[in-house]
């Protein structure tokens, strides 16, 4: 076995261990802040797996989008609203857990089925494109995947408009069709501290 192959195997096993343990930590840890940071670690290791597959552009995009944007925003949101409060015990937790476990197992079996039935090899042998992949991704995005690409951008636009409506409730508190005031006031007015109870 050559040195390059050995390095690759070691990297792969370390990365997959980190992904699995980190993902378990994300859902099992009690402290939500730890979960959020571990999620970042999982995203990073997935980027490492992409690097092992010679997909450096996808790896960098993974880091930029998932770690740099999604995870930072998740942590940001947690830190802005992180109130220490005792959560109430949920009723019939056992049956809920059984249902969610079975759903997860179904998904897992589906994924395993896909993994086994799909032919993962490239159409042409030795067709590793490596650094060329950036160009290929661009070509695909603007030809056969143009519609999904555009639909995704519309989805993002919708999310953004929704966020603006939620954030500016103090401005848009009128029902558009009837013109009547709608009870959409903020709990906390911009210049009013939260601790003063409203009447």
């Amino acid at each position: 076995m050559s040195i390059a192959v050995t390095t690759q195997i070691i990297c792969f096993s370390v990365l997959s261990l980190v992904v699995i343990i980190g993902a378990l930590g994300v859902i099992l840890l009690e402290n939500i802040v730890y979960s959020a940071f571990l999620l970042g670690g999982v995203f990073m290791s997935v980027a490492g797996l992409y690097l092992l597959l010679n997909a450096s552009f996808v790896a960098a995009a993974q880091v930029l989008v998932y770690v740099g944007a999604v995870n930072v925003l998740i942590i940001f949101a947690i830190m802005l609203v992180n109130k220490k409060e005792d959560l109430k015990a949920i009723e019939n937790i056992k049956s809920r857990r059984i249902i969610s476990t079975s759903i997860c197992l179904t998904l897992l079996s589906l994924l395993i089925r896909v993994d086994l039935s799909n032919i993962w090899g490239l159409a042409e042998p030795n067709a590793s494109i490596g650094e060329e992949s950036t160009v290929r991704i661009g070509e695909h995005l603007f030809s056969d995947y143009l519609l999904p690409f555009e639909v995704a951008s519309v989805l993002l636009l919708m999310a953004m408009i929704g966020a603006i409506v939620l954030a500016r409730r103090d401005v848009m508190n009128e029902d558009i069709s009837t013109g009547l005031p709608v009870d959409q006031e903020l709990i906390e007015k911009p210049n009013e501290p939260l601790l003063i109870k409203k009447n």
Partner: protein, 372 residues
């Protein structure tokens, strides 16, 4: 385009002369450029710290460090030694794991980004195809480290500092990436080597700063904001937040933040010089000098000359920019957080989008000047 010195090739040839296999020679070679770059980054920080002290002193009509070595050149080493032997304090109510991991997460991406900084045609650690995009991706990890240390310190000033740092770096990353995108559009490549080569046609006249003046200013403002330098040092604004996310840090952990911010400053200056000021290019193309001296371009003398001129030019340009950054720090007042976010989202973002659009249009109209 593979002219110039190739140290890796000649090094491997020497080792193979000793009877080592190709693979083993490669493994012995691998850590060397990384070590060289790490050492040069740290030395660069020492020089910058000294410059910062001296220039700030000059700006305030003081003398500055004077007794540690000639003109106080040993002052940064004394600073470093002091931080090294200081007690490492973790506050009792702090979260010790995250408290320790925070500074590491801030420093590592910055050092990793040196991977793509070229000092000459073959003088960089790795000519990865995604080049400049790697830097943008890596620099987006930093806010996580800042948030982590801000949260783990269990201190309201730290938390506010960390949140401000994250908000600032998220907002300024977008115009930064868009101005880089305009350069990439002109180069047809993400690789830093290609970006410099594309500017090397006619010496100083072909530098990107003439073709991308708006992009240059946007990039410089955003780079300063990403480095948290005044006028954008809100995350550690002394008068409001004590020292922001680093309030609770002492000793070596504080030194990691300190090192990280200065390495980031030098890195930003290097990238500005690579993207807009022709990288390792001399204002007069080396080809013309070789023709005047009547030597072929691949003569050994010319090759060594080109390589050393390349390193000198890159470092010189970067330090000129560092000088500007230091002057800015000691002459401009700090902006408020709302002004900072307004500038980022309402001014720089639209301008950089327009810049990208105009660049694309010019590329279609004048392909010979804007890289068809």
């Amino acid at each position: 385009m593979n002219s110039g010195l190739d140290l890796e090739y000649s090094f491997n040839e020497i080792l193979k002369g000793f009877g080592l296999s190709n693979e083993l020679a490669h493994i012995i070679w691998l850590p060397l450029p990384m070590l060289v770059v790490l050492v040069s980054a740290v030395v660069g920080v020492l020089v910058t710290v000294w410059l910062e002290r001296k220039i700030s002193a000059a700006a305030q009509q003081r003398i500055g460090p004077e007794y540690a070595g000639a003109l106080g050149v040993l002052q940064p080493i004394a600073d470093g030694l002091k931080l090294l032997v200081k007690e490492d304090i973790i506050p009792a109510k702090a979260d010790s794991i995250l408290f320790t991991a925070g500074p590491i997460l801030v420093l590592v991406p910055v050092i990793l980004s040196w991977l793509i900084v070229p000092f000459g045609q073959n003088l960089l650690i790795s000519n990865v195809g995604i080049g400049i995009f790697l830097w943008i991706a890596l620099s987006s990890i930093q806010p996580i480290g800042l948030l982590m240390s801000g949260y783990a310190s269990n201190n309201k000033y730290s938390l506010l500092g960390g949140l401000r740092a994250a908000a600032q770096s998220i907002s300024y990353e977008i115009p930064l990436a868009l101005s880089v995108l305009a350069i990439v559009l002109m180069t047809n490549s993400l690789s830093t080597i290609d970006i410099v080569n594309q500017q090397s046609g006619a010496g100083i006249l072909s530098w990107n700063i003439w073709r991308q003046p708006v992009g240059f200013i946007i990039f410089w403002i955003c780079a300063l904001a990403e480095c948290e330098r005044l006028p954008f040092d809100l995350p550690e604004a002394e008068e409001e937040l004590v020292a922001g996310y680093q309030t609770e840090y002492a000793g070596m952990k504080f030194a990691l933040f300190y090192l990280g911010s200065y390495i980031n400053l030098i890195l930003s200056a290097l990238l500005v010089s690579i993207l807009y000021l022709g990288g390792w290019g001399f204002p007069i193309p080396v080809e013309i000098i070789a023709r005047v001296l009547n030597l072929p371009i691949d003569a050994p003398v010319i090759q060594v000359f080109t390589a050393s001129i390349g390193i000198i030019m890159t470092v010189l340009k970067a330090y000129l920019l560092v000088f500007v950054a230091i002057l800015l720090r000691w002459t401009t007042p700090r902006v408020r957080i709302d002004q900072l976010l307004d500038l980022g989202w309402k001014f720089l973002l639209p301008i950089s989008l327009a810049n990208l659009l105009v660049t694309a249009g010019l590329k279609l109209a004048f392909p010979q000047f804007f890289g068809g």
